[in-house]
């Protein structure tokens, strides 16, 4: 009895944490401004939230076959989601998208001097 209660509590905590992580990731995807930042936010749901939800369901599984299928789902998603995220970032990079590295004021200041031939690299290297 006490073991079942502990399992229920643990699976409830895991399911709630997973749902919370997924909603937080969705809000982050809505709020972030860059494509690569949005990729970063989406991976929170696709690995963290997914693992929490699957672990929460795993503690409630009535049969061992259900547990095996849940582990299979978790393994598949853990293998495929980083691969598709990487492919998406790579395709966007090859298509000309660049991550936003510099701030706007710095960009305005460096373009105000006209062409800066090779001072940009050292300039950025000084940037933390």
């Amino acid at each position: 009895m006490a073991v079942e209660l502990a399992l229920d509590i643990a699976s409830g905590i895991l399911l709630g944490l997973g749902a919370l992580l997924i909603v937080i990731a969705a809000i982050g995807m809505l709020r972030f401004s860059d494509l690569f930042k949005r990729l970063h936010a989406a991976s929170v749901a696709e690995t963290g939230g997914m693992l929490c939800l699957v672990a929460g369901m795993l503690l409630q599984s009535p049969h061992w076959l259900v547990a095996v299928k849940l582990v299979l789902i978790a393994l598949l998603l853990m293998l495929t989601n980083p691969v598709s995220t990487h492919a998406l970032a790579r395709a966007a990079l090859y298509d000309g998208y660049r991550p936003a590295l510099r701030k706007r004021e710095e960009q305005a200041a460096s373009s105000g001097h006209g062409k800066v031939p090779d001072g940009q690299a050292s300039h950025r290297k000084a940037q933390p």
Binding site: S11, I22, R38, A42, K69, A91, D95, Y97, V116
Partner: protein
């Protein structure tokens, strides 16, 4: 048993992903990212709803959906653009085109740095 709040969280996150996918200012890769996100949430949704209704056969559908989601994302990315010349490291490090949100907050361009990468013409490709 927090299955119902987990379902609610998955639905909320999925609707936020749908907003991201159909937003008029979204670019192609934002839409693909939202599609992949919604697919992952759908896999989890099918698994959780199998537990709610007490029908563990739904987990097979979830496994199949995870595979189809991955194949679909990779196929669309391959169709768009993921091959060709690797961008040079200098052109990656030099900022090039900063493609932030299309609100114009961070969208500054550095015309002197994107010599090797493709120009600005392919950055604004959007499906409307």
């Amino acid at each position: 048993m927090l299955f119902i709040p987990a379902l609610a969280g998955l639905l909320v996150a999925g609707s936020i992903g749908l907003i991201l996918a159909i937003k008029p200012s979204a670019q192609v890769y934002d839409r693909i990212l939202a599609l992949n996100f919604i697919g992952t949430l759908t896999v989890l949704f099918i698994a959780v709803i199998g537990f709610v209704f007490g029908r563990p056969e739904f987990l097979d559908i979830a496994v199949a959906y995870a595979l189809i989601n991955f194949i679909g994302t990779i196929a669309v990315l391959k169709y768009l653009k993921s091959t060709g010349e690797t961008p040079a490291i200098e052109s990656l490090a030099d900022g090039g085109v900063v493609t932030g949100n299309t609100d114009g907050e961070e969208s500054v361009t550095d015309a002197s740095a994107n010599g090797k990468v493709e120009g600005n013409s392919s950055n604004q490709r959007s499906v409307s």
